[in-house]
């Protein structure tokens, strides 16, 4: 194929993916009049950084940010604690019902979130956990995908390494912490990255499980802010920029891991 054609295709496609996000930044810096003007404003006359302050004045945006950080952060931490431990057990231990439990675990991959949504809502309501951090966090503490990823990664570690440590008198937890975990660092990085980005962006459960603005995460808080102030697009855009920037920075710092992580999910 001719190279200029490839460059044109890829260049146009990149414009389509990136320009809307740049426009979002532009919108967040426009005056209200500019967002409403009849002629298209591609970049504001003078950038209105004050829009960001106004957003915090109109909605508890500080709460949204803290909530998102706490929820996505603690869920990521839980995944880092539990997924490799469970993956290690399924990779290296023989025990009764092992295959049954593993199939029961993988079966949960086929359960989309909306199936759990109503019963989880009822459960949380009964426990008084609606509108709390524990209510937002506990349904996502582990998942079969993360466990499976870690199991695949731990399996090739030689069994001799584990046996030798046992003979030397290492405790089982010590073997896991000192021999297994240090070797899984690249996989843990991928796991942490994906878990954090997905939970940071999660929309449906925080929408269902929060009842006051103060407990909302950024995606939900921003969407409901937009329903209330649906003409203030410059402020909605400012909130979108705040929601997007952390994931964008994480991605740019780790894009190699990220791409490898996606490719990894495609392997069977």
């Amino acid at each position: 194929m001719r190279k200029w054609l490839l460059y044109t295709v890829l260049g146009l496609a990149s414009l389509v993916t990136v320009l809307p996000l740049l426009y979002m930044l532009s919108l967040s810096l426009q005056t209200e009049a500019e967002t409403l003007s009849a002629s298209a404003v591609l970049w504001p006359e003078s950038p209105q950084w004050g829009n960001y302050a106004e957003l915090f004045a109109r909605a508890p945006f500080g709460n949204f940010i803290v909530n998102s950080l706490v929820v996505a952060g603690l869920i990521t931490l839980a995944h880092l604690v539990f997924d490799p431990l469970v993956g290690y057990v399924f990779a290296k231990f023989r025990f009764p019902l092992r295959n049954t439990l593993f199939v029961a675990l993988l079966a949960t991959l086929m359960v989309p979130f909306f199936v759990r949504m109503i019963p989880l809502y009822v459960l949380m309501a009964n426990m008084g956990w609606l509108n709390t951090y524990q209510g937002l966090i506990t349904p996502f503490l582990m998942d079969a995908f993360g466990i499976f990823l870690m199991r695949q990664f731990i399996q090739p570690i030689p069994d001799d390494l584990i046996s030798a440590a046992r003979i030397d008198g290492a405790s089982e937890l010590g073997i896991y912490r000192r021999i297994i975990l240090p070797q899984t660092r690249p996989a843990l990085a991928v796991l942490a990255l994906f878990t954090f980005v997905f939970q940071w962006n999660e929309f449906l459960w925080p929408l269902v499980a929060t009842t006051t603005p103060e407990m909302r995460t950024i995606p939900v808080g921003l969407t409901l802010f937009n329903q209330e102030y649906f003409t203030l697009w410059h402020l909605t855009a400012a909130g979108s920029v705040i929601l997007f920037v952390p994931t964008a920075v994480l991605f740019l710092l780790t894009q190699r891991y990220f791409v490898r992580g996606i490719a990894l999910t495609g392997l069977r």
């Binding site: 890829l10 409403l36 909605t236 994931t247 495609g266």
Partner: protein, 290 residues
């Protein structure tokens, strides 16, 4: 009590390590699945009156449920076809020895990082008939404004979904393409096969596992799309984009009918699982080995 054998001791350790996971998956997956089925067999504002299969027969005969299911399938089909065609095309373009490949890959993947909240809000603004930048540019160029969300709402939200996800499918296809040995193409070239023929006879058959994976993922995520309807269209105009999960959400949390909404989510789950199993079986039969 200490287990006497070595095997017994390992089994005890294994279960000790597994205990949190067993409790978690029991409490937050298996118990909810049991509960959603139990609730689907009940009716009333508290979902405490036995209804047998009443909710299911009602759902199967409910025109609104049927309509929302058809809308959802059409949406999922559009997303699947778009993902495969665009994802593969971009991956093949990127699989050539070009300068700036890493940069293109980054740029194309960026929307994948956005929350559905951003996708929804941003595109609702961009596509707005009066305020949207696209229509203001069209008007400035002397062209008529386009009401995409009124004239073809379903295709529009499918396109917006593709905007977000195409980078992901592209990376999957790229990994698949890089797994095809160069020697096949070289051998075919020597035999006089042109690029078109090589695409149909080598690339596409050998990519079948990737294509299968992409289509399974796209069907699953397409059938459970929610934010697009909630944020961009509110299911409208009329009920043109009343996606199933959005419909279920409204029955559950706006009409407060947990029994009926639970039955609908069980039905949709059955459809998704069936789709997945059929696709996987068809995929296995279609696999090629050279």
């Amino acid at each position: 009590m200490r287990p006497r054998t070595l095997a017994g001791r390992y089994a005890r350790t294994a279960y000790l390590f597994l205990l949190p996971a067993i409790l978690f998956f029991a409490a937050f997956f298996y118990l909810p699945i049991g509960n959603v089925v139990a609730t689907s067999l009940r009716t009333g504002p508290q979902a405490d009156q036995w209804a047998g299969l009443g909710n299911y027969t009602q759902a199967l005969g409910d025109p609104a449920v049927r309509h929302s299911f058809l809308v959802t399938v059409a949406f999922a089909v559009a997303v699947v076809v778009g993902s495969i065609v665009l994802g593969l095309a971009l991956a093949m373009a990127l699989d050539q020895p070009l300068k700036g490949r890493v940069a293109f890959r980054v740029l194309l993947l960026v929307p994948y990082l956005t929350s559905v909240a951003i996708v929804g809000l941003l595109w609702r603004n961009i596509l707005d008939p009066e305020l949207g930048v696209l229509n203001r540019l069209l008007l400035a160029a002397g062209l008529p404004a386009q009401h995409w969300l009124n004239t073809s709402p379903l295709l529009t939200i499918a396109a917006v979904t593709l905007w977000q996800s195409v980078g992901y499918t592209m990376v999957l296809f790229l990994a698949g393409l890089q797994g095809i040995p160069e020697t096949y193409h070289e051998a075919a070239k020597i035999d006089g096969a042109d690029a078109w023929l090589r695409f149909w006879r080598i690339t596409l058959p050998l990519l079948a596992p990737t294509t299968l994976f992409v289509s399974v993922m796209a069907v699953i995520s397409g059938l459970q799309a929610f934010g697009q309807a909630y944020i961009i269209t509110n299911g409208g105009p009329g009920d043109a984009t009343d996606l199933s999960v959005f419909h279920i959400f409204n029955v559950a949390f706006r009409s407060r009918d947990f029994g009926y909404s639970s039955a609908q989510s069980v039905l949709l789950l059955i459809v998704i699982v069936a789709f997945t199993l059929v696709q996987l079986r068809a995929g296995r039969r279609g696999e090629v080995v050279y």
